[in-house]
């Protein structure tokens, strides 16, 4: 008898996929925590600055759900899985927007049966059986690690500042931010508005060219009336990672209408949440403390050799006290995963005193960035056709591929160094040619004077 078994409808698979696709932007692994009435997916990112918790209601999200806890798992069962393997199982379609069209296709999923078993003498496996409309059934068995999840702590009594806003509105506004920015400052500096300001902390010498390479600095003012249930003092700046915020919004607008935020002061966690039918998504993001923001300026370039995007040193979330004290011992993994697991386990030891709000230490490398944040930008529309030719990545790939030319063998394109005489006069040559005195502009009248065309 499986500890946990449930059935997902076609839509349920799609929603679960969306949820996992969101979580994978924060962490490679997800913790499943099952109880009688709900299944919870949680993840904490590597730098421990962002925590995701997606709760699926047992009787509303699933077509069938049964939890049969015994022994050590009487109340709760938990395990940790590699998200990408789950994603490949629950992959249904590229975007959830095509549902109506895809439904007719035979290859779509009719339902998905999942069962999880564990315990002494039983193989720890998550078995997912995908039943497609065309009669094919695919069965996947995934190994997992039995490990208690780490929950971030958030004190909602402390977080007096809050607002709620349409996720779609906010998402559309985020499209106005350009690339290359790292931090989002949500502040109330203006009159009766909430500002969303994007910036990087890279300091540049104003006298060099580097000034011109700074990313676009963008600020968006949204009237307070736009928000529901808003309670924010004036002049409060709260700073979070723009990437996290974007990832959350992307999922929020797929799932729900309204995004709610609550927070207290800089350096304390911020909570974002939204819900769909049978699904509740909560995020706890550590905000950049004012001291950190100031301190960063002096020290930040120390990891300059690092090619990955340097994450602003950020404080970590606090782990909530362990759900039940002895569960960390159940881990039955092997190898490096175990080591990683233990490291995490140490983090949640309740020894850390309450008043230490966060540890400041060099954060681990951020998780490899995913392509998905790109999709948040405004679509390029038809402009693509005007992009310069790129012989290496071929727009006509299909034809070339058919001819079996290996584009990858091309040497990296080198700049032309033309030893031949260059026909176009360069600026150095111009002095000689200035006799006829063409002004360095070319209004049509001047071009005419220079002897070109009739209108």
């Amino acid at each position: 008898m499986a500890i946990l078994s449930f059935t997902l409808s076609e839509e349920g698979v799609a929603v679960l996929h969306d949820a996992l696709a969101c979580i994978v932007k924060f962490s490679d692994d997800v913790c499943l925590e099952a109880s009688k009435d709900k299944l919870t997916l949680t993840a904490l990112n590597l730098s421990k600055s962002a925590y995701v918790k997606i709760t699926l209601s047992a009787n509303r999200f699933f077509s069938r759900y049964s939890f049969d806890g015994t022994g050590q798992f009487r109340d709760k069962f938990f395990c940790q899985l590699y998200i990408r393997s789950l994603l490949s199982i629950f992959r249904t379609r590229a975007a959830s927007g095509d549902q109506a069209r895809d439904r007719d296709k035979e290859t779509t999923i009719e339902r998905c049966d999942v069962s999880v078993d564990d315990g002494p003498g039983v193989k720890s496996r998550l078995i997912a059986k995908i039943i497609c409309r065309n009669g094919i059934t695919a069965t996947h068995a995934l190994p997992f690690e039995t490990k208690a999840p780490v929950h971030a702590k958030f004190d909602s009594n402390e977080a007096a500042n809050r607002w709620t806003i349409s996720a779609r509105t906010l998402r559309q506004l985020m499209d106005h931010f350009g690339p290359g920015i790292e931090l989002l400052d949500i502040n109330t500096d203006g009159e009766n508005v909430v500002n969303f300001t994007c910036f990087t902390e890279k300091a540049v010498n104003p006298s060099t060219d580097a000034v011109l390479k700074k990313p676009l600095h963008t600020s968006i003012a949204v009237e307070m009336d736009e928000f529901d249930d808003i309670e924010v003092p004036e002049k409060l700046h709260i700073i979070v990672s723009v990437k996290d915020f974007r990832n959350i919004l992307h999922h929020a607008q797929l799932t729900s209408g309204e995004l709610a935020a609550s927070y207290s002061v800089p350096g304390r966690p911020m909570k974002l949440s939204y819900r769909g039918d049978g699904i509740l998504c909560e995020y706890i993001l550590m905000t950049v403390g004012e001291k950190d923001a100031a301190g960063q300026r002096g020290t930040k370039r120390t990891r300059g050799a690092n090619q990955t995007k340097p994450a602003a040193p950020r404080p970590e979330l606090e782990a909530a006290s362990v759900t039940s004290s002895n569960q960390a011992n159940f881990a039955v993994p092997s190898g490096s995963r175990a080591a990683a697991g233990n490291a995490t386990a140490q983090q949640k030891t309740p020894a850390r005193p309450r008043q230490s709000q966060f540890q400041i230490r060099p954060p681990p490398l951020p998780p490899p960035s995913t392509l998905r944040s790109e999709s948040l930008f405004v679509a390029q529309d038809e402009d693509q056709q005007w992009e310069p030719v790129n012989a290496d990545e071929d727009a006509d790939g299909e034809e070339i591929a058919r001819l079996e030319w290996d584009n990858n063998l091309n040497p990296s394109p080198k700049r032309i160094i033309s030893h031949a005489a260059q026909a176009t006069p360069r600026s150095e040559d111009i002095d000689k040619m200035l006799d006829s005195g063409l002004e360095p502009t070319q209004r049509l009248s001047e071009v005419r004077r220079f002897g070109l065309f009739s209108p």
């Binding site: 959830s96 600026s427 071009v447």
Partner: protein
């Protein structure tokens, strides 16, 4: 030094910036009482001089500096400007001003815009908000009526959301710039080229670009090992005559392909604008020499592709060929909403190569 203006023709402006940005990241912008001029001069490749009348892209502008004609010279990164203009495309009002932020001069673009209330996402949670009475008791339907768990309560959101999108949002983009001293730009001069042998109106640029790009790729992918270095930067041969024909050719060790366009227009020259009599003009001689008399230049395939990116402006393009010497494109930027206005011209000095 002051500069403050409202923007108009944002779409065209944005396309121009995109076209310039495909050649070089940073432009030299020269603003004065009458003209806004954008110049890009890459280290290698074609250079562009775009002169627009101030009224074309600006409205109610105020410009002031210590120089004559209130000239202001700026160095401006094109990618952020393009990004900022793109977010201004659907704005209700849009203004630009030169100011300082944290001691760094910036062009600050202020956009008033509204967000749309999109149709609800097709995620299943959202989809079901719409049918609160759709009370199938099947568990598969996630029936909201089974609302026995307060955590998962779904509020009727539609009522509160509808009118929200119409409210004004103010977006501010700060584009970093460098103010250039007049002395530093004094020496930058527009190239001068001798009277052209052939001038011809180019076929639709999208067509020309598609074929040029195809040729460039053919040359890159078809040549064998030893010729690689050369093949990475294939040269296209462009020729035109005074009888309405344009020829595009790629020749490598292993292939030789030519496309020819006919019945193109060779616009008439205006004798009053010429400094030499029309009958002495090189193009007259080329015309008299018949359709087999071609003026030819060689251009770099990739650079040419970046040049043709100007096609997004949808303007008329006249190519001037000086045989085996130079190629200049004049792009006439259409001014839809003001037919009487003087055309703005974007001039491309296409870098060309001898054999």
């Amino acid at each position: 030094m002051r500069f403050k203006t409202e923007l108009r023709n944002i779409r065209t402006f944005s396309k121009l910036v995109a076209a310039l940005n495909s050649l070089e990241k940073i432009a030299w912008v020269r603003l004065d009482d009458d003209t806004a001029r954008f110049t890009v001069i890459p280290d290698t490749g074609s250079q562009v001089w775009a002169s627009l009348s101030m009224d074309f892209i600006f409205e109610n502008y105020h410009i002031q500096s210590a120089e004559s004609n209130n000239t202001i010279n700026l160095e401006l990164p094109l990618a952020p400007l393009q990004r900022a203009l793109r977010s201004a495309l659907n704005s209700t009002a849009c203004s630009l001003r030169l100011t300082k932020r944290d001691g760094i001069p910036v062009l600050s673009l202020t956009i008033h815009t509204t967000t749309k209330d999109l149709p609800p996402a097709s995620g299943f949670g959202a989809a079901h908000h719409h049918h609160p009475n759709h009370a199938s008791r099947d568990r598969d339907d996630y029936d909201p009526a089974r609302d026995d768990e307060s955590v998962f309560t779904t509020e009727p959101l539609e009522m509160t959301l509808k009118s929200r999108g119409e409210r004004d949002k103010v977006i501010t983009h700060d584009i970093p710039v460098r103010v250039l001293h007049p002395d530093t730009v004094e020496t930058i001069m527009q190239p001068k080229v001798r009277e052209p042998d052939v001038h011809i109106q180019l076929p639709p640029l999208l067509q020309l670009k598609a074929i040029s790009d195809r040729f460039t790729r053919l040359a890159t992918t078809s040549s064998s090992g030893s010729a690689r270095g050369q093949a990475a930067n294939p040269k296209l041969e462009l020729s035109a005559n005074m009888h309405g024909s344009l020829r595009l050719r790629i020749a490598t060790d292993s292939l030789d392909v030519t496309s020819t366009w006919d019945k193109l227009e060779n616009p008439d020259l205006d004798p009053t604008q010429l400094q030499i009599p029309l009958e002495d003009h090189p193009s007259t001689k080329f015309r008299e020499a018949g359709p087999d008399k071609w003026a030819t230049v060689r251009v770099d395939g990739k650079d040419w592709s970046r040049v043709l990116s100007v096609g997004r402006l949808e303007g008329r393009v006249i190519a001037c060929f000086a045989d085996d010497h130079a190629l200049i494109l004049y792009v006439y930027v259409p001014q839809y909403d003001d037919a009487g206005a003087e055309d703005s011209v974007v001039t491309y000095y296409v870098s060309s190569y001898s054999l």
